[in-house]
């Protein structure tokens, strides 16, 4: 297993190869280049598993493999690989989900007779390669570069059906909103380079380590705009956070994710559930050593996370299309992860990241199979009663929903509960902001439970409400296979880190994920972060007591939400209860008018400014230039009049000229006095 880490670059290059193959020879290959994609992702998956075991054996790998720009008297800009528990875990997640999505795409795209398959699989291949490149990046610049490439692939894949009007504008919106976030991220990257001179995550000159030493006063770093070191690190942290908020669709920049549902469902599953949206949270986890040093930034992250969780969950309640509900649930779940990171729960957030990747991918693929059955009609009110016609999809979907809602044995419960637990104990330990965030997170659990089961009951339970719902179009193994695999994963991944069980029943050593994440470089492991977090933890009735109470409360809320949904929607003829909300429904349905105000900023503010500028430019700047030329033309016209053609005038001018000359010379020469 030792040499396996040298094959790490292959993980990234295999999907890139499949991209080239699909792009070049896709037309001539059976299934439009899908096989190349499946082969590549399978290869990467195997390699990732091998890397995973090598890393859990205590190995780590941090090598620079390519010098991008060699600075003669300045620092070099390089690409390198950093394989440690966090990145190997993420490698496994991304490659597994990518593989399953590729297989699923056979069913979703090929069988449905889509055209342009080579372009689709090329896009998927490039996306997987860029995402893996981002995961293994060893410095902030490489991370930013692949961060942007991932944004490009999401643009290409959302806009796959470019012949209609919807997808291209959704793709444009997605790219622009994330680009706005990446603007701040780019300033952050440049600021880190300027402040620390290097942007490496790990190794001797890693910038989190330099920041830590700078704060302890061991050596000085150049700060800018006259700020002190602490203030400047907070600013840099917030700048990078801009990119994270954009990519992980957190509160202000979340509007692109629901529109991104215009893309094919496997794309939504891969990109907008499991991997790309996770890039932001992964980035914060990657440079957590830097964020931990600045408590204000952590508090802001926690607040954004908590608020987004609640905010998105409320919007998910009233949606009609199955994919819209899942989109808002994704935003909400990533809110939890940000909450976990903000509250100092590094392991909790990473745990939720992993479990969420599986069950959300499962839910999206389940939705995909339902959409195939419903001939691409996503409206839940036309579905109903699919339970007995699509058993495999139903049970997998159910396991995913239970995980999402956070019901005990399923993965979602353990990870979400741990996030809330960390927030609670650090909140009690004397930071009221975390308590507020905890409250928002808790409330969101109730809404999550409600909309999840509302979705399940509307789609699978009750009487079929439309013709297609009565005899849905069957799905083949390539759809059911991935669903089954993910269904099992959604149920079992919780066992990896059952903290409450460990604390309540005192069974030491079952928090495998915690130990796993401790095996990294000294500056990157969970233990090191635990020491640095600025919160102290307070308990009500001892540690075990708080765990029990926390778990009970969150489970209670989840079950409450589920029960409400059961009461309202688990009836043969469910009716639109959300109308009772009246005006609140319209506000929720229109997503608190977030879309409108962002579109207004783009079209209502920026475009008129540019039109005014254009008129200014044409009128005044160009006017001045043309003005100067017209002055000379006008002057020419005037002077021309002197030449009248009459000889006497010329004689007169001559005489006057002579007189003036004589006068002038006379005055100068002193002839007169």
């Amino acid at each position: 297993m030792a040499g396996i880490l040298d094959f790490a670059p292959a993980i990234v290059l295999l999907p890139f190869l499949s991209f080239l193959i699909a792009l070049g020879a896709g037309r001539y290959m059976p299934k439009g280049g899908a096989l190349a994609g499946i082969g590549a992702t399978a290869g990467s998956f195997v390699l990732s598993i091998a890397t995973f075991f090598a890393v859990s054996g205590g190995q780590t790998y941090n090598q620079t493999i390519y010098t991008w720009a060699e600075g003669l008297d300045a620092i070099n800009l390089t690409f390198g690989l950093l394989i440690d528990p966090l990145s190997s875990m993420m490698l496994v997640i991304v490659t597994l989900v990518a593989l399953l999505v590729h297989v699923f795409s056979l069913g979703y795209m090929n069988d449905e007779g889509e055209t342009g398959l080579p372009r689709y699989y090329a896009g998927l291949g490039l996306f997987t390669a860029s995402m893996l490149g981002f995961v293994v990046a060893d410095n902030l610049l490489m991370a930013f570069m692949f961060f942007e490439l991932v944004g490009l692939c999401s643009y290409l894949l959302i806009g796959f059906h470019f012949r209609q009007d919807g997808p291209p504008s959704a793709a444009k919106k997605a790219f622009l909103v994330t680009r706005f976030g990446d603007y701040f991220f780019l300033i952050g990257v440049v600021a880190v380079f300027a402040t620390f001179g290097s942007a490496a995550f790990a190794g001797p000159d890693a910038f989190p380590v330099l920041a830590e030493e700078a704060l302890n006063g061991e050596h000085s770093v150049n700060t800018f705009l006259g700020m002190g070191e602490q203030a400047w690190f907070t600013v840099v942290g917030l700048l990078v956070l801009g990119g994270v908020v954009g990519k992980s669709a957190q509160f202000p920049l979340h509007t692109w994710l629901p529109d991104a549902m215009e893309g094919p469902t496997p794309v939504s599953a891969l990109i907008h559930a499991a991997t790309m949206v996770a890039a932001g949270v992964y980035l914060v986890a990657r440079m957590y050593g830097f964020y931990v040093l600045t408590p204000t930034t952590l508090a802001i992250i926690a607040l954004i996370g908590g608020f987004t969780a609640l905010f998105a969950a409320t919007m998910g309640v009233v949606k009609k299309e199955i994919k819209q509900v899942l989109a808002y649930s994704t935003i909400s779940q990533y809110g939890y992860m940000m909450l976990g990171l903000g509250a100092g729960g590094y392991v909790a957030a990473t745990f939720h990241l992993m479990t969420h990747a599986f069950f959300k991918a499962l839910l999206f693929l389940g939705a995909g199979s339902v959409i195939i059955a419903m001939h691409h009609n996503e409206n839940m009110w036309d579905m109903g009663g699919l339970k007995d016609k699509m058993p495999v999809t139903y049970y997998a979907f159910l396991s995913g929903s239970l995980a999402l809602a956070g019901i005990v044995p399923f993965a979602g419960f353990w990870s979400k509960d741990e996030v809330l637990y960390e927030t609670l104990i650090h909140g009690l330990g004397g930071s009221p902001i975390l308590l507020a965030a905890y409250a928002m997170g808790l409330l969101a659990v109730f809404f999550t439970g409600f909309y999840t089961f509302r979705m399940v009951f509307l789609t699978f339970h009750g009487e079929p409400r439309s013709g297609t719902a009565r005899d849905p179009h069957g799905v083949r193994w390539n759809v059911k296979g991935p669903l089954a695999v993910l269904g099992v994963l959604a149920a079992t991944t919780g066992l990896v880190n059952m903290v409450p069980v460990e604390k309540l029943f005192g069974i030491e050593g079952i928090d495998f994920l915690h130990q796993f994440l401790d095996g990294s470089f000294s500056s990157l492991n969970a233990h090191h972060y635990a020491e640095l977090i600025p919160y102290s933890s307070g308990y009500i009735g001892g540690e075990a007591g708080t765990v029990a109470i926390g778990a009970a409360v969150s489970l209670g809320f989840a079950l409450g939400g589920a029960a409400l949904a059961h009461v309202l929607y688990n009836v043969p003829e469910p009716v639109e209860h959300t109308d009772k909300l009246g005006s609140i429904k319209t506000v929720l349905y229109n997503n608190y008018y977030q879309d409108e105000y962002q579109v207004w900023i783009a079209t209502g503010v920026v475009q008129p400014i540019s039109r005014v500028l254009d008129k200014f430019d044409q009128g005044i700047v160009d006017g001045v230039v043309n003005g100067i030329s017209s002055v000379s033309l006008f002057a020419g016209g005037r002077v021309k009049r002197i030449q009248t053609g009459v000889v006497s005038n010329y004689a007169a001018l001559l005489t006057l000229g002579l007189t003036a000359l004589l006068l002038g010379l006379g005055l100068l020469g002193g002839w007169f006095a």
Binding site: K640, Q643, T644, G645, V646, V647, S648, A651, A652, T655
Partner: protein
């Protein structure tokens, strides 16, 4: 001995009368006359200074200017003839085509 200023004054007067004629008249023939006048003003100067320097060059030169004046009038009359033919009249203000 008459000091040269007065000769200069005389020639200036004659010269300006010539110009006055040139500026105010509209008949091309009178232009010629005025020009003659101006030329002779110059001759007055020449002779005056010939006397002033006690050198005969001035006077010899005057002879040449007289000859030249004759040549000039000859050509002038030719031009006036053509002017008359083209613009049926010797009124100078009608012939305004010699411009941009």
């Amino acid at each position: 001995m008459v000091p040269p200023q007065y000769y200069l004054l005389l020639s200036a007067a004659v010269f300006c009368i010539g110009i006055f004629g040139l500026l105010t008249r509209r008949n091309a023939l009178l232009f010629l006359m005025s020009v003659e006048l101006m030329l002779n003003a110059a001759n007055i100067n020449l002779v005056a200074f010939s006397y002033y320097w006690g050198n005969v060059t001035g006077q010899t030169f005057t002879l040449f200017t007289l000859a030249l004046a004759a040549a000039e009038v000859a050509v002038g009359l030719g031009i006036i003839l053509v002017l008359y033919r083209n613009f049926d009249g010797v009124d100078v203000t009608n012939a305004t085509t010699m411009r941009w």
